[in-house]
Structures are given as C-alpha cells and as structure tokens.
Amino acid sequence: MHMADALLAPAVAATMYAASATAAGVSIHKLKKDDEPSKLPVMAVTSALVFAGQMINYTIPGTGSSGHMCGGMMLSALLGPYAGFLSMIVILAIQCLFFADGGLMALGANCWNMAFYGCFVGYFLIWRPIMNGKWFGEGKSAERARIIAASIIGCIITLQLGAFSVVLETSLSGITELPFGAFCALMQPIHLAIGLVEGLITAAVLVFVHDSRPELLSGVELSEGESAKRSLKTVVAILAVVALVVGGGLSLMASSNPDGLEWALFGNADGGYSTNMGLDEENFGVESSAAEKAGSIQEKTSFLPDYAFPGSESAAGTTVSGIVGSAIVAGAAILICFVGGFFRKRKVRTE
Amino acid sequence: MIEFRNVKFEYEKGKEVLHDMSFRIEKGESVGLIGANGAGKSTIMKLLLGLLQGEGKVLIDGTEVKKETLGEIRAKLGFVLQNSDNQMFMPTVYEDMIFGPLNYGLSREVVDKRVDEVLARLNLEYLKHRYNHKISGGEKRMGAIATILAMEPAAILMDEPTSALDPYNRRLVINTIRELEQTKLIASHDLDMILDTCDRVILISGGRIAADGPAREILSNKELLEANRMELPLRMQ
C-alpha cells in the first residue's frame, strides 16, 4: 500500500503531511506527558523487529501464495497507540529513504494510510474495546479468542480505511483517469484479502506473546470496572460507524454520476477543496484557451474541474516544438551522462 | 570499594536466588566471578548496579545502593555488557563514548579530550568516527570498553568480556583488561581469561559463595571446579 511520490499532487501530499504531523505531535506530547521517553529503547527495538518482520514470507495454506504483514495493529497492541504510531513512522521513513518503498513526499500520506488507522483507529476503536469486553466469556481461551477477533477485525477495517484513503488521495491528485468507483472496486476487495492475512498473522503473533508473556500486551490490563461495561456497546457502535463509512464508500462507487461524487467529496468539505487545491488552480489554470476542450474530457473522466492542460488545437504548434525540444533535452542529458561517466562504474572512494 | 552485606534476593516469592551473601572487594583488586549458568552471577552484577534491589546492604565506596544514590553509584561504576550491540546504541563509536560523560554533566571540551585520550591508550583512534553497525564484533567489544573508560569509573564490572571473540581479539581484550588500574569484577566462564586477568576468584554455586580465594589456588582445584560444573583452565591441565 506504499504510495509513490508520483501518485500525489503537491497539495495532497502537503495536506497528508500536515495530518500525519499533527498525529505525531499529539503522540509525542502524550508520551512526554506520561513520562515515557523510557519507552524509546523498546520502541526502537520493536520497530526494527517489525521492519525485518515485514520481509517474512508466510505461506497461506491451500493457495500456494504467500502473505506479509505490515504491523500497524501489532505495534499498537504491543506499544500502545502513541508509541506504535511513532514507531510506524520511523519504519516507513527508513523504507522510503533506503529502499525507495514509498517516497519522500508521500511519507505523510503513507503514515496516515498505514500507521494512523492501524494505530489509532485500530487501538481505540477495536483493540481496546474488544480486549476489555466480555466477548467469548472468561478465562484464558476467551482472551485468546478476543485477541484473534480484535486482530482480524482490526486489520481488515484499518486496511480497508487505508486502501480507501489511497484511492481518495490518488484521485484527488488527479493523476489517474481510472474512475473513482472502478478504482475503489479494484482496491477494496484486494485489501480485504490482504487485511485478512495481516489479521491472521497479527493474531498468531499476539496469541503467542499472550501465552508466553501476557504483560507485554498493551491496554489489556484495564479490563475491570466501568470501562468494561461500556466497551461492548462501543464496539457495536463503532462497527456500525465503520459499516456506514464503508457502505457510503461503496454507494459512492456505485453511483456513476460525477456530480454526486464531486459533491460528496468536496461539496461538504467546507471550502476545504478550494483551499487544498488552491495551488493547483494557480499552476494549472493558466491556459484558458484549452479550458473548454479540457472540460469536455474531464466531465467523462476526471472530477477535478479546474484541471486544464496545454494541448488544444490552437496550441498544436507549440506542442510539436515541445516534443522536439524534449527530444533535444533528452539528447543533452544523455550526452552529459556519457561525458560524466554516468553509466560507468566508478572507482569507489571511501573515507 | 565493593561490599555485599548479607544480601538476599528473589525474583519470585519463595524462590531465593541469592542466600545471605557477603563479600568485600578492596580498591584496585581484580576479582573473577565464576559459576555455572544460573548460579547468580548476573544477579550480583545487577544488584551492584542498582538494576535490582534485594534485602541486605550493597555498598559501593561506602555508599549504600538505593534509589536516592543511584546517580552517584552509577557514575562510579562502569558496566561492560556481554552483548556489545546492546551497549553501543549510538550511531558512531564517538557518540557512544560521549553519551555517558555528557549525561553526568561534563562539558563537551573535557569529554572530547577524554575520548581522545582513551582511544589513544587503546590504540583505537581509527574507530572514532566509524559506525557501530559497520564494525566487527571484536572492534565493537573494544569500543564498548572504551565507552566505559571514557566515563572514568572507579570500578569496572564486566559480563563475559571475551565471549564470541576470535583468539586475536580475545587476547587484545585480555591485555587491555590487564592494563586497567581500576577495581575490576569480571563474570565469565572463560577461566583461562580469569586466570590471566584476576588475582582473586569468587566461585558462586546455587546462590552461595562456594569458594573465595587466590585465583591460582581455586582455578587449580580440579575437584572443586568439577563439583561446580566447570573444568580446569587449559593452562592448568
């Protein structure tokens, strides 16, 4: 689910950065307030572990294929939501910096899609309520069953939310012609399967931890008292909300009316759209002559109305010169490469 | 310098791992702490460092180890861990070396001078700006010792300082230990190394002191060692 830089418009990337940075700021504040910088070594070692653990191939019985885990739910179950979120950020940062998995500018979006939901939604709305609830009764095996239920439900829901966000961010960035609904129809079912596998792996590991060192699981010990009574209701309420969100997404998907979609996405966002997209308007709305033609294409394909492009008939001449110019630039670049020994293996000079 | 007075300790209720233990280590002594796995060597180390609290009194330089004195105690003790990866957690050797002294409030200039002195003394100048994740096991162990020396502790505790080292690096570490003038307490199964570095040995068995005396004497006592699941050092065979 790692998004690449290319899939995001600058405004979307910046918005997601702001959102993730806020969540990170809250997390840091919380951890500091609870005087938990002492958690730092545990966080570091656990995130290093999860980083490595993501590379394990898990054979999925009966399919011949293998699955992987991403670890957001697992981290928040082990470290709590705040420490889990920060750990996830660090994992994603290392992946993007050293392995090109994700991108420097997409980091904000990736943190949101993969860490925020898994850590915060997964922890507060799923893990803690279920673990402190009364599902499956009392005793050790009931606890195990709760871990399995929480892991699977948590992973599926948080991955669905993550996948939906990917679709939303990509579509808002206006880089794909794939209609929003079709994109959703592609992404959501795939991530249903991925979420299920992730949930099973997470459950397996957490049950193992629970059996050997139950004190390591976070948020489980506060089971007694009033919070426990409320929790089942909370679970039901949350599941209802999630169902609504997912259902809403599905119905949007089904609706082929771009106006309705547009309204649903931006109309009620309180001017958020124009603010968010202000940058694009400035950058892209330059060639007014092209706007008419662009509009006709966009009605069918895209839902970003102010997207113009420099390619109308009147500009045909410039387009040709653009192509020729591009070719010349490419030639120049290749020349630089060869002159500079770009493709040659350099002698290694280390300090 | 180091004193245990009737120390008892249990991890779980009813399962005492140290029974009424008492010993004294004088300033400048080098003491080897030997015993089979689970005898209680690590527990003794942790009690000294205040990582665990037991019954009885643990004294360092006349100060009792307790919550209020931890800062004072730990500034005097250097602990070399068995796993250097856990000790060298900063990006570079230099950053690891300045970590302790700066935390104890020394100025950067003083610390930098110390770091250079220690590295020169151990012939490790080349390691200064190397990455901890890029250096070999032997270099890491030497780096860990340098890290502790930069704190200028009055006493040094070591847990298996020669484990997982090749003969060359093992010898290097042994020579380094021999040259340290501080009070030393070394826990190890490497009895040849203990013989090389310590004048006195304390043998622990089942949470009690089974023997305490000159290293040569204890390490040549075949029956005593074998009764405690150890064997004679190669040099004594």
Partner: protein, 274 residues
Amino acid sequence: MKKGIYRMNKMQKALAELSEMDELAARRSPVHTLHPAAKLLTTIVYILVTLSFDKYDLSGIVPMVLWPVLMFTISGVNVRTCFYKLRIVLPLVMAVGLFNPFFDKEIMVSIGGIGVSGGVISMITLMLKGVFCLMASFLLMATTKIDSLCAALRKLHVPAMLVSLLQLTYRYVGVMTEELAVMTEAYHLRAPGQKGIHISAWGSFLGQLLLRSMDRAQELFSSMMLRGYHEHFHYADIDRFRARDALFMAGCILFFVLLRYGNIAQLIGGLVVY
C-alpha cells in the same frame, strides 16, 4: 558468494542494500560535502516542483531530468543502483498509470499521422514523475549519511524524540534483520521445499524473536540508564551551514522555477522547428 549457487533470502538482500547505501554515502564528492539540510530541502523542492506539473505537460516535465543527471554526474554515484530500486516504484506507478490510455482516448497530438491520446501522454508523464522523484530521493540518501540527515532534521526542528527514535531504530534494523535472516535460513534448512513459513509457525517464528527483542530492549535501556540517560541524546556536531550551501540551494531552486514556468523544451524546440 557465487550467483546462482547461493541464493540470498530477502533479509540478506535488504542488508546488502542497506550497506550499499551506507557505502555510497561514505564517499567523497562536492555533493557529499554539502550541508545535509540544504540537500534535503532542495530535494523536497525538486520533488514538489516535479509533482506540480500538469498530467499532460510532458514537454514541460522532460527537462526536469537535467538536475538529477547533473547531480549524479557530479557526485559520481552510479545510476544503476538507483534504477535497481525502480523495481519497487515503477510497478506501482504503472498499475495506476496504465489505465489512463483506456479511459482517456482523446487524441492530443499527432505525430506523422499517428494520433497520440491524452491517456498515453499522461501515463508517460506519470512514469517520468515516478522516475525523477526516485532519482532525487536516491541521490539524497546516496550522498548523505543517515546521522547527517538526522542532524539536519534536528536543525529543522523535527521533534528530538522522533529523530532519536529514527536513529536508534536504524541502529537496530541491521541487528534485527540479521537475526531474522539467520532464523529464516535455519527454518528453510529444516523445511526444504517450503516457500514461506508454515501456518503452524506463524506465531512462534516472529513471536520468539519478539520476546528476545523485549529482553534486548530491557538490556539496552539498562545500559542507557547506567550511563546516566535522562531523555536527551547527544550527537556529534555537524558542519555549519555555509555560504556555498545557501548558494547551492538558491541556484537549484531558481533552476527548478525556470524549468517550471518557462518551458525550456519548447524554447529549444522552437529554435529548431520554426
């Protein structure tokens, strides 16, 4: 280690990739010695400018290749290593971009009678964005050591806790990956023919290591406490931000703005065509 005879598992490959980046960053060149904050900010601006190009603005985006090419050349970093990493970025970008030609069939340009649809153009533009952004961030990491980058992040007021966590995690990524690599190898030696971890070991495989890691974390924390840790990490100082760093930044950004607002490709092309 002969190819074909000894197949590295995923973790070993990752370790090799990490150490390759470390080695690249330890080299020397005019780019390596630039202030990390200058490089970081310039890279971010480059990526943002690249992303801001319109999806049909193929001729506008092509000249953006000049900056990474120039930087690769000056820094002496081999581009092959960079393109090896494309295997991760490109499929993802392609998966999204490949749909464009099917949905957007309006002919935008015709070259020699063959019509090129908007979808094809937007697909190529998207791919170029992917490649350019990767080149830029690869360059950053290939010419900047991780601790210099962290120092830059601290200078840019990224919270100390996050930066320390990044640095500490990076320190242990190698250690943990190596442990898992060994475990994976041990597993497969006893389970020949199995592609992955069998479901019966799903929990215990990572779980065992997790428990051990918790002990490791405890020991690590002890070792920090014993050396007087209380909340702050002290790092080596990095070089000051000098005039040449500012000059580099200003120059590059000016260059990007020029590429963004003046269509260089069209200008050059115009000289030839008309």
